[in-house]
């Protein structure tokens, strides 16, 4: 290219010469440079033509385009409290922007919905409901939806901002190893599994909808939204047009045949699409291609893609087989569930001959380090976990054959597995018979034996003795306690009148146990639970520690006992104490929930369960068994599960039994007639999905339910209308924010949160403004209760009696405290509307049950009402109240002392209850669980 300014110079000079002189002028000035001359001449040729060119600005378009144009013009704008920072892209569902949550100062993604959603109220409502179901999917591999918001101009979805690239970009840039591809596919399958479990089908699995975070974490976008963008269920003519596949989807290369044909689709369409994506990850090419849409359809419907082994030699043949099955044309020929596909992928990935590895998630490692880390982990990490002593090299080949087997698959919960010392059988608790019993099952056998069939009392927490001859367990029979029995279920003998979670000393002479039971570590509030030990032969008890301790695990050489403890700051941390009760030492620290400690059989590691990475998973830390000294930072041992717990090793360390759980807590409502004291049949599920949503509280005007939800590591407060619409998030921070309570005027919400590092009481306006802290004492403040006049707030404390603050004043000194009663404990849950009485529950020393009690302000005295019950709640007559025992909601009349069942949620668990002001509708949350026992094994 000729020098631009030189060309211009000559051009202008030439224009100043007359046309007839130009040729001569150019010859001279270009001095034989033909290229320069041609350049100038070609420009001169256009000079005349360019007279009117772009002389008139595009007036006609300006306003119209600016008006129709959206994304660039949004930058800098603020919606609600989100300030738009930049445009991220446009997807099938609308435009996506990076924005800042100005309240929380963090980045989020805003997905602006097409305008027609706003125009059609019915459609918007349906959209909201569906989006809410999707947002209820709580899985680390699914993008988190924070809320759906509506402003005058637009509707938008607020989601987590994922700092990463789409799989489309990743594939375009480099070829993935089969291990990387399999890891990505497994993560996708895991996400789909949890969605399919609640009947949500993605329908648009494709590389552009899959983000790979910089740390390797896979996140699926636009879950179920493909369907929402179709007007599929209203049935009008226009609708059908829009559901025609080629009009809905941006890309048809990943569509299943049934989807391409516009037929009804189910979860198996996602299996097909995942197969296509996996094929592309491995080979770099799409299996169904074509120059036109028609050609792609034809390939999808009629052609089989080339075998992967031909395109990408060197990948395991089994992957080819898996993909072929996933992309079968007929859905009936495919994997029928995504779980099957995932299990197969997992198995191949773990095939040792091909260098797969297991147990350690490589998503947390920088990509560069993967190959090295993988090799290192195979030979060192896993080796250590299971053998500890690195002197026997030959064992490493055994390690590579490690795999996962599902041992139980009944519906409901199988819990507390204890692996026999030889690793050949398990005992566990299950409610399959209707009440908790203890079952024995050989590994590899499909049937189990109920060892406690003779007793109608609940039996749980079984533990094999170190010699494998006896089982210790908790039973409610004979008034409750710790029992032992033989492997046949005979020779049952009570050795302690109290206790849960027995753990044997390695010599089998003693059994340690804790005083408190719990269902979920996060829900446990009653403290302290002491740690005791009983001599098996003599039945003699001894106290090991009086500080809070649950789920003990005796170390293999007998020196120390590990347990977890609910500290006064509300933290759940792992501790160890010497078997004599001396020198308790803290092992873990922080606000994550650390629980379920288990010693490795060689005593070098303390394993525990923690939610510190998001999912409830296995961690371990080096601990010196004799001293309890912690020798390093906890490290993740990732089990392929969302929620795993109750780990139990065989003595040789080659087998590890554990529980995989899925817990959901959902909010429901039901009619109630306060006269006849009966609940109606009209039960409405307000928060569907697989999330944990609990502590619902209906507003005084019956318009809103406030509740808290446990998401990916954080707990926040949300609002929703009783009909399930209007879902919105009130708090959003990485802390545990719980138990929202409406002020009597319905304008404010009190709650407690560990944002300061300790649970403290806070108040916020319903519109999200004026957040302020109420409590100021070095105590863990929980469960706020408003006084009926809204001027005072009571907070329950874990280690002291309830404290009442004056809300109007800033940190008054000193706040009022309820009187302490020696050795008792009281937690208030409901204030009578006349202000005179508090309902609550308490516990006597040595007792494992909480009783329902009444506190009278006038006499400053407590009155015990019911032996066993939780969370009592006044009706508006200040005479009757609800309470529950986790299974049933009951009504108690304080005058007649009549005690009546209102409804039961068996076999699920009632969590918390709220009632409308007119007492005609009950709002409550119910926890449902599905837990199965798995075995990780190196044989």
């Amino acid at each position: 290219m000729k020098d631009f300014s030189r060309v211009e110079e000559i051009y202008h000079a030439a224009l100043e010469t007359s046309p007839e002189d130009r040729a001569v002028f150019l010859t001279e000035i270009c001095a034989g440079d033909d290229e320069l001359r041609r350049e100038v001449e070609s420009l001169l040729e256009f000079d005349g033509k360019a007279q009117d060119f772009i002389e008139t600005p595009p007036y006609d378009l300006a306003a119209a385009v600016v008006d129709s144009q959206k994304h660039t013009s949004l930058i800098g704008k603020t919606f609600s409290h989100y300030r738009v920072l930049s445009f991220l892209g446009a997807g099938g569902m609308g435009e996506v922007y990076l924005a800042e949550d100005t309240k929380l100062g963090r980045k989020i993604a805003l997905k602006l919905l097409p305008r027609q959603f706003g125009a059609d109220a019915e459609r918007r409502k349906r959209f909201e409901q569906e989006a809410r179901a999707v947002s209820a999917l709580n899985h680390p591999n699914i993008i988190t939806i924070y809320g759906i918001e509506e402003t005058a101009q637009s509707n938008f979805i607020v989601t987590e901002f994922i700092d990463g690239r789409t799989l489309r970009e990743v594939i375009a840039e480099k070829s993935l190893s089969w291990q990387e591809a399999a890891e990505i596919a497994i993560q996708i399958a895991g996400a789909l599994e949890s969605a399919h479990a609640v009947n949500i089908v993605h329908r648009d699995i494709k590389p552009a909808n899959i983000m790979i975070r910089h740390d390797g974490y896979v996140k699926i976008l636009d879950f179920g939204l493909a369907k929402l963008t179709m007007r599929s269920d209203s049935g009008d003519v226009e609708t059908r047009e829009h559901t025609a596949p080629h009009r809905v989807m941006g890309t048809i290369n990943y569509m299943s045949p049934e989807q391409a044909l516009g037929e009804n689709v189910d979860a198996r369409t996602d299996i097909f699409s995942l197969g296509v994506v996996f094929y592309e990850m491995l080979s770099g090419i799409q299996p169904f291609r074509g120059a036109s849409d028609a050609a792609v359809y034809n390939a999808t419907l009629n052609k089989n893609p080339p075998s992967l082994n031909e395109i990408t030699p060197g990948i395991p043949a089994s992957l080819d087989r898996i993909i072929k099955r996933a992309i079968e044309k007929n859905p009936d020929d495919r994997y029928q569930t995504i779980s099957e596909l995932r299990a197969e992928l997992q198995r191949v990935k773990e095939n040792p001959r091909l260098g797969g590895f297991r147990f350690f998630s490589f998503r947390k490692l920088p990509r560069m380090l993967l190959p090295i880390a993988a090799a290192a982990l195979i030979f060192v990490g896993i080796y250590f976990i299971f053998f500890g002593r690195p002197e026997v090299d030959s064992r490493s080949s055994v390690v590579r054959n490690f795999n996962y087997t599902q041992l139980t698959s009944q519906s409901g919960e199988e819990l507390h597995p204890s692996l026999s010392p030889d690793g050949k059988s398990i005992v566990y608790s299950s409610r399959a018979s209707g009440n908790w019993d203890i079952y024995l099952q050989g590994v590899g056998e499909a049937t189990s034996t109920n060892l406690t069939v003779d007793s109608s009392a609940a039996d749980k927490h079984p533990k094999y003795s170190p010699d494998g001859e006896m089982i210790a367990f908790r039973s409610e029979r004979e008034g409750g306690g710790i029992f032992i029995m033989s492997l046949t279920g005979e020779s049952v003998r009570r050795i302690s009148e109290r206790g849960y979670y027995p753990t044997w000393s390695p010599d089998g002479k003693e059994i340690a146990f804790c005083i408190d039971d719990f269902d979920e570590p996060g829900a446990r509030t009653t403290v302290p639970s002491e740690l005791w030990s009983v001599d098996v032969a003599s039945g003699e008890n001894r106290l090991i520690t009086s500080s809070d301790a649950v789920q003990p695990s005796w170390s293999p050489n007998g020196h120390r006992i590990a347990y977890w403890s609910l500290t006064s700051g509300g933290q759940r941390d792992i501790w160890t104490v010497s078997a004599s009760g001396a020198e308790p030492l803290q092992v873990t620290e922080g606000t994550s929930i650390d629980w379920n400690p288990v010693w490795s059989p060689n005593g070098k590691h303390l394993y525990f369960v923690s939610d510190r990475s998001g999912s409830m998973n296995l961690w371990r830390v080096f601990v010196e068994e004799e001293t309890g000294k912690v020798l390093g930072e906890p490290e993740a041992i990732t089990i392929p599960s969302n929620y795993s717990q109750s780990f139990s090793f065989s003595t040789d360390g080659k087998h590890l039994a554990y529980v995989q759980s899925n817990n959901y807590t959902n909010i429901f409502s039901v009619d109630f007639d306060p006269k006849s004291e009966t609940a109606g049949r009209n039960v409405a599920e307000i928060t569907p999905g697989s999330r944990i949503t609990t502590n619902p509280q209906i507003s005084p005007d019956d318009e809103w339910i406030v509740f808290d939800a446990i998401g990916d590591k954080q707990e926040d407060i949300f609002l929703i209308k009783p009909d399930g619409s209007g879902f919105r998030q009130l708090t959003n921070d990485p802390y545990k924010t719980r138990s929202p309570q409406w002020s009597p005027d319905g304008k404010r919400i009190a709650f407690f949160s560990d944002s300061t590092g300790r649970y403290e009481g806070w108040v916020i306006n319903v519109d999200g403004s004026d957040l302020r802290r109420i409590t100021n004492l070095p105590l863990s403040m929980q469960l706020p209760i408003w006084s009926p006049d809204g001027k005072r707030l009571l907070f329950n404390t874990t280690n002291a009696y309830p404290i009442i603050y004056d809300v109007e004043k800033d940190f008054p000194e000193p706040p009022e405290s309820l009187p302490a009663e020696p050795d008792r404990w009281f937690m208030a849950s409901s204030w009578s509307s006349d202000g005179a009485k508090l309902l609550g529950y308490g516990r006597e020393p040595q007792s494992t049950y909480s009783y329902v009690a009444l506190y009278h302000f006038e006499t400053r005295s407590y009155e015990k009402l019911i032996d066993w019950g939780r969370l009592p709640l006044w009706l508006s007559d200040n005479r009757r109240f609800f309470y529950h025992d986790h299974r049933e909601l009951r009504l108690f009349d304080t005058i007649t002392r009549r005690n009546k069942q209102i409804f039961s949620v068996l076999p699920n668990m009632l969590q918390s209850v709220s009632i409308s002001k007119d007492n005609r509708r009950i709002y409550y949350s119910v926890r449902r669980s599905e837990s199965n026992i798995w075995l990780a094994s190196t044989e």
Binding site: L43, P57, A90
Partner: protein
Amino acid sequence: MNIRDQQVTRLLESWRNGDDDALEQLMPLVYGELRRMAKRYMHSQPSGHTFQTTELIHEAYLKLAEHRDKRWENRTHFFAVAAQAMRHILVDHARSRQTEKRGGALKVISLEETAVVSAERAQEIVALDDALKSLESRDERKARVVEMRYFGGLSVKETAEVLKISPETVMRDWRFAKTWLLRELSRE
């Protein structure tokens, strides 16, 4: 003078003094105002009225920075920013029209987008923008002149003011740029 006015004025001054970050901050405000103005006009003007780019920009300026800031320099600089904004808006719109067409499969998002720009117009605008980028790489100032004159509807004098060059130079640049661009666009 409210905070936003002050902000615009301050940013304009910073930008005039060579602070490119100020432009970054200014742009969203200008976008926003242009959009608001356009919306108002599109919805309140009798049909048939063609609202002109310059009017739009002037109105936006009056709205954003009117009150005390009557300084000519600030106004013209604002226009320059607005011209750039207009270019982006028009070109983005035209490009999205094109992508849609090329993509074949109709995306849901496009259902609501009315065809403000005809397919041919869209193609012209995109082609012009491409050529303008090519010109920009050779002579940045000429591209600015085109941007201000064409996309912003600025007069020669206003353009000269912003670029701190004489009106004659603007004329020369303008003439050469137009010719050069037309030749580029006429190539196959």
